[in-house]
Subunit: 243 residues, 2 copies
């Protein structure tokens, strides 16, 4: 049975990390909120599920995944759950917990990237918090992005199995997520990301290898890949791209 991915239909957002893992593995899935309302899909189907008061395990927010009767929310938990079946994580418990740690650190950086344009309130527009956004983006571009990316670089180059992957000698969902993180940073902060990535060649090489994987490359060319835009997590506001 195909997985059901539930996420906002017009943005990559956090759902994209799950989409990319499913695509990289060639797993069948239904992107429910992007489906046809007449056939019981679309955003109303997702919201109906979120608001269903009979659910004992309601997700807090999208993305969430339905795998038969199992419902899993929280991006990192979804990937941790899916990865053994998708063969996107090594088998040992040690490798699984390390891969998960990397994913959680990616998630932390994604939250900080988001907060550059929404430092005050997600309930307000960017235009209502531009002064604060400018201050936060300065910190993000100048301090946080280098700190995170240098950590990713260090774990790539220290991988005992070689710098082709983050964990061991095989592709994991952490590799795929790091690809997406680099994509997002380059979209939102083209100048600042170029400056930081110039010092992390291992990360850039890994990004390029993931992009070239046949299933990933086919997905990126397809209409299933939603273009970056200014409703998502990574937004291009030139004034926030502080080199």
């Amino acid at each position: 049975m195909a997985y059901e991915l539930h996420y906002w239909p017009t943005i990559q957002g956090r759902g994209e990390f799950v989409r990319l893992a499913l695509e990289a593995a060639g797993a069948p899935y239904i992107d429910v909120a992007r489906g046809d309302e007449d056939s019981g899909q679309g955003t109303p189907a997702m919201l109906r599920f979120l608001q269903d008061e009979t659910l004992t395990h309601p997700p807090f927010a999208p993305p969430f995944l339905k795998d038969g009767h199992q419902v899993v929310g929280q991006t990192a938990a979804i990937l941790h759950y899916l990865a053994p079946t998708l063969k996107l994580v090594a088998r040992s418990d040690y490798a699984r917990v390390w891969t998960h740690q990397i994913q959680l650190t990616i998630a932390d950086m994604v939250t900080e990237a988001h907060d550059t344009h929404h430092p005050i309130a997600i309930g307000l527009y960017y235009e209502d918090q531009t002064a604060e956004a400018l201050r936060r983006a300065k910190e993000f571009c100048g301090a946080r992005m280098p700190k995170y990316m240098q950590w990713f670089e260090s774990i790539v180059v220290r991988n005992p199995a070689g710098p082709r992957h983050l964990v061991g000698g095989k592709l994991s969902y952490a590799d795929v997520s790091l690809f997406q993180l680099v994509e997002g940073l380059r979209y939102a902060f083209p100048k600042a990301a170029a400056k930081v990535l110039a010092k992390t060649p291992g990360v850039v090489n890994l990004h390029d290898r993931v992009a070239a994987l046949p299933k990933v490359a086919a997905y990126l060319r397809s209409e299933r890949r939603i273009p970056f835009n200014e409703q998502g997590i990574f937004r291009r506001y030139p004034e926030l791209d502080i080199r």
Copy 2:
């Protein structure tokens, strides 16, 4: 062999979620950075480890746990890793992933609580971002805190095994973490938390049951429990307690 917990020695912070789980389980552990420098412990020992360039799995930041040769960073990953051994999670994979989802949602709320006093930059003092903090705290107290706590209330009251625990009929690390979250909110935002918690009696009852567990109660009375203070995540700045 005792676990080694590495975390900043003068604050509860994120390390407290791990400390509480270890204490609730009665597990032996060394709180390394709080130990004696003369015996190779203290903050220098923690920093030495963080900066060790020979580590293949370096933690990004404290807290991290050493269990023999295994090193695990990221609070939620540490708890996920420890829980089966500490018997703080049910055995089924389904229960494990649900417990983890709850923990990740607690972690998200902890980050938002932190950002009320540091909405711009963790590299700056609170005093350098008070105007922004006031705006962010208004959103946190008025919108985010109720949203999160109502979700926790809904999952407590919908637990098929009854509202004494978050998952199934036994104590899990998620219960212990929810206790700590309520403690932190009450410390930092006494008025706003009182208003929100008045509508979440299931959460309050669960908090009180965790506080009364003999091992937890003994820990809270001990000197091992660092008092809340204005260097940690939950800080009492009365101007940010917006009812």
